[in-house]
Symmetry: C2
DNA sequence: TAGATTGTTAATCGATTAACAATC
DNA sequence: TAGATTGTTAATCGATTAACAATC
């Protein structure tokens, strides 16, 4: 157990909370690089990513020592190391299941391509849609999914179908070899060990906002509870 | 400080992690109620929500004691108490800014209505779209936003515009009185104290999956690191 | 009463933060 | 050398979990 971390190999154990923030740092670095900044301090980068500097430095320390004391971080170098740590120095092939509004919106989202992903197909149970393209992404019959997954070495699937269909789609994707799933359907998915699922739940997000919103209203009645 | 929690008033301090799970419990209870279950145990509910039973009981204990030892939870009663705690016993008015693919997908998502929200308008900077409807939601010129927010008492806004426009839209929403924002644009938003922002970042989600996916591949080389 | 299941305790674990020594 | 800024330490805080007494 526990990697005997040798040279610069990216196999240290990184806390999950840190992993979830690496994409934010990468985005902030990309913005800085666009502005042709060569070097930045932890304060600047933290501000650009919307976190505090202590947390940023602690997070980056898990990756290794890529800053220079008294100077800051080399933007390009740090960008490379984070991208390598995340594993997006090469693109990952992704399929989106469900060519409804949401699936089409996702396929059309240009951000994926530049951030390490290639959407190789939109899949839909309606064979009438097959042959069309959305923003350059071909729509295929869901029946062709196993062939596409095998041929394009797809390991990540995005679920944009109604909740009622989500578990079956998941089972099919997993059977075809997909081992990571991003789920937009409001449903709890069961998957075998070794398969990762992340979910994006739109009404949950709104409900969490509503929870805090409810208490805000109350604050104007009672004491002054503002500015947090 | 710290509420002197009287009768059953929903003003105890609830941990943020618990708040984020209440919507999951509510969804699971709705599913059970549809199946006409009157009572359920913490084990059943936890399984339906995809969490472990200890965590569920701990979470529910923050709301009060709404279960019966030896019996379980009354589905309808618990549903009411969670909905009240979240603050969705009445509907919240919501505007979606950006009538592109994503905005249209969100407007068409039927789940919001039944979960405590009414989408009162889609707003877009392109006045040519105004007058159209998407799934019953009218599209308005963004210039009309302040009037709509005031008239419909909107406190929650959803941002589905390109990253470059997100901060300006945020500033305008906040100026109009919106105090909770759900942000789909890949951008860090600054808001004044008292305004809550939650973000849904699609490429971050994929990158987090990619991180774990990278290590899976490596596991087949080295020792047996499967089943987690 | 016996069986079942909650609500709570206490231990553990992981994440955050401030402070500062190391060092460019 | 003096000033700046990282990387790390240690303290604190919050979340998770298992176990079990309370109680239906």
């Amino acid at each position: 157990m526990s990697g005997l971390d040798g040279s610069g190999s990216p196999l240290r154990e990184i806390p999950e909370a840190t992993v979830a923030r690496l994409p934010m740092y990468l985005r902030a670095l990309n913005a800085l690089a666009d502005g042709s900044r060569l070097v930045c301090s932890s304060d600047e980068l933290a501000a650009a990513a919307g976190v505090n500097a202590a947390k940023l430095r602690k997070d980056l320390s898990y990756l290794g020592s890529y800053g220079t004391r008294g100077v800051g971080y080399d933007v390009e170098l740090l960008r490379f190391h984070i991208a390598r740590e995340i594993g997006i120095t090469q693109d990952w092939s992704v399929v989106i299941v469900g060519a409804g509004h949401l699936g089409q919106a996702l396929a059309g989202f240009s951000g994926f391509t530049s951030r390490g992903f290639e959407i190789v197909a939109l899949l839909d149970a309606d064979p009438a849609l097959a042959g069309q393209q959305i923003a350059g992404v071909p729509i295929h019959d869901f029946a062709d999914m196993p062939a596409i997954v095998a041929e394009r070495r797809v390991t990540i699937g995005v679920i944009a179908v109604p909740a009622a269909a989500a578990q079956q789609v998941t089972d099919d994707l997993v059977a075809a070899g997909v081992t990571s799933i991003l789920n937009f359907a409001p449903a709890v998915l069961s998957v075998p060990a070794g398969v990762d699922v992340r979910k994006v739940d739109l009404s949950s997000e709104l409900q969490i906002l509503a929870y805090h919103e409810s208490r805000k209203g109350a604050a104007s009645d009672a004491g002054t509870e503002a500015t947090a």
